[in-house]
Symmetry: C2
Subunit: 199 residues, 2 copies
DNA sequence: ATAATTAAAACGAACGTTCGATAGACAAGG
DNA sequence: CCTTGTCTATCGAACGTTCGTTTTAATTAT
């Protein structure tokens, strides 16, 4: 990807996550990327295409990281913990986070919305299969894997969203968030008979 | 509140939650409420004021319900369970749910944004104080109450959001969501020494 | 040459909002 | 009973702005 495209995409991602997709204008993106309006349209077909490119990047980042995690062949509960930390840290690091991006879904063109939802679903289903796997191995308690996966993502994203406000509470959450979330996720999914036991 | 205002507010709430705040135009609201543009502005100062009125209504609804729950003087873990179910069911019932509304925050005027965030914070802090109370009574494990509260809301809202899609998965989540969420919340917050024990 | 970038103008559409006109309700004064 | 005035509700045209996008011509880099 060319440096100009990178700069444009980064500026767009930052603005989308700060102000929301619909509240961000192409002129603001151009200004932030220090590029003209024409240049943006030289590289991207539309504003929606930029959003989808950003979503794709973020999901790919997580998919790669989780698959690397899978290589380590950890027990499933530990995978859950690490995935919580991973998702949380990525949300904090990358300005253009998934959460504000996904918020802009409503009001998109039907096909763009479908594409964005499909990406999200793919991610959720991957987590759900991970959880289902853990259940059949007895490493996770019996529960609805899809609901558990949505709960998992929802809580991580809500906490990270709060951590991105500018106040003092946000700072504490940035420090404590990952470990607290991992703890919550672990306890919520741990089997009744503690074979992997506490911690 | 006059019937016309009710109709306008209901239409606005439904559209905001379906398409998002920024993607919903005043003309669409007028059309859905079967009134003219002028009538809307006769009753409401601005589009933002409508959003804030809706948010206030929804938060009030929850505050009243939770305070009624508090009257019963249940053990805190049971309160957590019930609150999860309550929030989840309210999100499903009311078209104009808090989640899509809160999504529209970005891009609002500074004062409107401040007001909306303050409402959300008040709700979160109430839950956090509930959790803190439970900790000091030994009914909830030691954890960060604010992070736990955000996690709690985030997961309920994420699951309910998925439950509002139109497909078959959504139907199952509508049926199972409340009990699964209550289970997750309870396990995530239960103390290590099971005095209230399982269930 | 070919591609990348620029500034600027323009497009139609949609945006949130304002405004003047109209209609009905209700009461007061004749 | 009729008028007159005042109030509120409702309408729909119109305002000015901004939107995403396209286009054009000129300039710079590869």
């Amino acid at each position: 990807m060319k440096p100009t495209e990178r700069r444009i995409l980064e500026a767009a991602g930052k603005l989308f996550s700060q102000r929301g997709f619909h509240a961000t204008g192409m002129r603001a993106i151009a200004r932030a990327a220090r590029v003209s309006l024409g240049t943006i349209y030289h590289h991207f077909k539309s504003k929606e295409e930029m959003l989808l490119a950003l979503l794709r990047e973020e999901y790919d980042k997580r998919r790669r990281a989780i698959e690397a995690l899978k290589e380590e062949d950890l027990p499933v509960p530990e995978m859950i913990r690490r995935t919580a930390e991973l998702h949380f840290r990525l949300l904090l690091e990358t300005g253009p986070s998934l959460r504000p991006l996904a918020q802009g879904l409503r009001g998109l063109s039907p096909q763009a919305k479908r594409a964005a939802i499909a990406m999200r679903e793919e991610f959720v289903n991957y987590l759900a299969s991970l959880i289902g796997e853990g259940i059949s191995r007895g490493q996770i308690r019996r529960c609805d894997p899809v609901i558990a996966a949505h709960s998992f993502l929802g809580m991580v994203e809500a906490v990270s969203a709060r951590a991105m406000e500018g106040d003092g509470v946000a700072v504490r959450i940035q420090e404590r968030g990952a470990v607290e979330l991992a703890e919550i996720a672990w306890r919520a999914l741990a089997p009744d008979t503690p074979q992997g036991g506490q911690r």
